[in-house]
């Protein structure tokens, strides 16, 4: 029974974790993202040639 409950917990965490992290992107609801600055990781230098 103890083993079974452990497995139950593992499955539950897996499913809830999947829903929260990959479906809901739960950090969107926890953290305010207004001030996040996005930068380009590539520098594009304007070249005439």
């Amino acid at each position: 029974m103890k083993k079974w409950f452990y497995k139950f917990l593992v499955y539950t965490t897996l499913i809830i974790g999947y829903l929260f992290l990959y479906v809901l992107n739960v950090e969107e609801f926890i953290y305010d993202q207004k001030d996040i600055q996005v930068k380009s990781t590539v520098d594009f230098v304007y070249q005439q040639f």
Binding site: V10, T13, L14, G17, Y18, F20, L21, E27, Y31
Partner: protein
């Protein structure tokens, strides 16, 4: 991965007479490398180099000294680690050389080859290329371990289809679940919900919280990946050795390395610490305790260099070395004086708890250095 597992089971069922397990494994590995790895031909080139070195060493090198074979086999890895710390700004003909050595899994392959050389050097006979290829580039463990032993691995491959039992598959399933839970749920949650949101205000609180969060993240990510590798191995009948076993309950550095990245700890012990310490002991350098400590320190310093030639890796390796030296000195004094020189007559249970707490924090600090956050 899934397709490969299904393929193995189909062949086991219908074609195990037609194609032997080891050939099938090489074909699958080769196809995987060609399709998914960024530089399959570099990888094959590296394997050929290692195999040629092994063959040459076994044929012509008769010395007992292992420094030359080790260096020879590690050469591509040393190039790779070196090139990753120097930058090439000049427009030289060799400006593209660093890229040649940036091969997926190069460090682990080199370590496997060294282990193989030492294990098999006293045994006669040729090492089969297909066996070596399977061993060196076993896909689940290619990237970050665990490090297997040639003898053990080849035995599993020899037993091949018979090893693919339902019991092992079930064991694989358990490992898979835990691996998914560790890597894709716990590590991911720690990373996305905590680690990236810590605000770097330069305060001690920030660095402390980063330290503990990073330790947990690294553990779950790494252990999860190892478990997944073990699981995929299990599904195709390979008993990949375990790599992590409740490391935060370790009471001393020695135990820690039997619980954290065990396969690397064992490798370092068997192929580096042992010969080094034996050499020291034979030469009778200094006192016994001094010999022990220098060998320990050097072993962990090597581990630091193996992670990369960047300063933070090296310092963290040396720090682990210092931990081991301190513990070894304490252990030696305890044995010599037949009493606990630090804890005295304290309750056994309490000693254990205090040791675990100290060890955990020491590890957290060393891993924090490892993370490269500080420098």
């Amino acid at each position: 991965m899934g397709m490969a597992i299904v393929l193995f089971h189909l062949v086991k069922r219908f074609g195990s007479q037609l194609i032997s397990y080891r050939i099938l494994l090489s074909i699958v590995t080769l196809v995987f490398a060609l399709v998914y790895l960024p530089k399959p031909f570099h990888l094959i080139g590296l394997i050929l180099y290692l195999y040629a070195c092994l063959g040459g060493l076994r044929k012509w090198y008769e010395g007992q000294n292992i420094i030359f074979p080790m260096l020879l086999l590690a050469l591509p890895m040393l190039f790779m680690k070196y090139f990753s710390i120097v930058s090439f700004t000049d427009d030289n003909w060799w400006k593209n050389t660093p890229g040649i050595f940036q091969i997926t899994g190069i460090s682990y392959m080199v370590f496997r080859a060294i282990g193989l050389y030492i294990d098999e050097r006293s045994k006669p006979g040729k090492i089969n290329f297909i066996d070596f290829f399977n061993f060196a580039s076993f896909v689940p463990t290619l990237l970050i371990g665990p490090l297997d032993r040639f003898h053990r691995f080849t035995n599993d491959v020899k037993n091949g289809y018979q090893n693919m039992t339902s019991a092992l598959t079930y064991q694989g399933w358990n490992n898979l679940l835990m691996g998914l839970l560790y890597k894709f749920i716990l590590a991911e949650a720690i990373h996305r919900l905590v680690l990236v949101h810590l605000i770097d205000d330069g305060s001690l609180v920030y660095h402390m919280s980063y330290m503990y969060t990073y330790l947990l993240y690294l553990y779950f990510d790494f252990a999860g990946y190892s478990l997944l590798a073990i699981a995929f191995g299990n599904f195709i009948g390979i008993h990949v050795p375990i790599n992590f076993d409740k490391p935060f309950l370790a009471v001393n550095p020695k135990e820690f390395w039997k619980k954290w990245h065990k396969s690397l700890g064992d490798w370092l012990n068997d192929y580096f610490f042992k010969p080094l310490f034996m050499h020291f002991t034979k030469k009778k350098w200094g006192t016994s305790i001094r010999r022990q400590n220098s060998a320990l320190f050097l072993t962990f310093a090597l581990m630091g260099f193996w992670n990369g030639f960047e300063l933070h890796y090296i310092i963290s390796g040396m720090l682990f070395g210092v931990y081991s030296v301190i513990h070894n000195y304490y252990f030696y004094q305890c044995k010599k004086q037949k009493r606990d020189v630090v804890f005295g007559k304290l309750n056994e249970r309490w000693i254990r708890i205090i040791s675990i707490v100290i060890m955990f924090h020491a590890v957290a600090f060393a891993i924090y250095i490892f993370s490269g956050k500080l420098f």
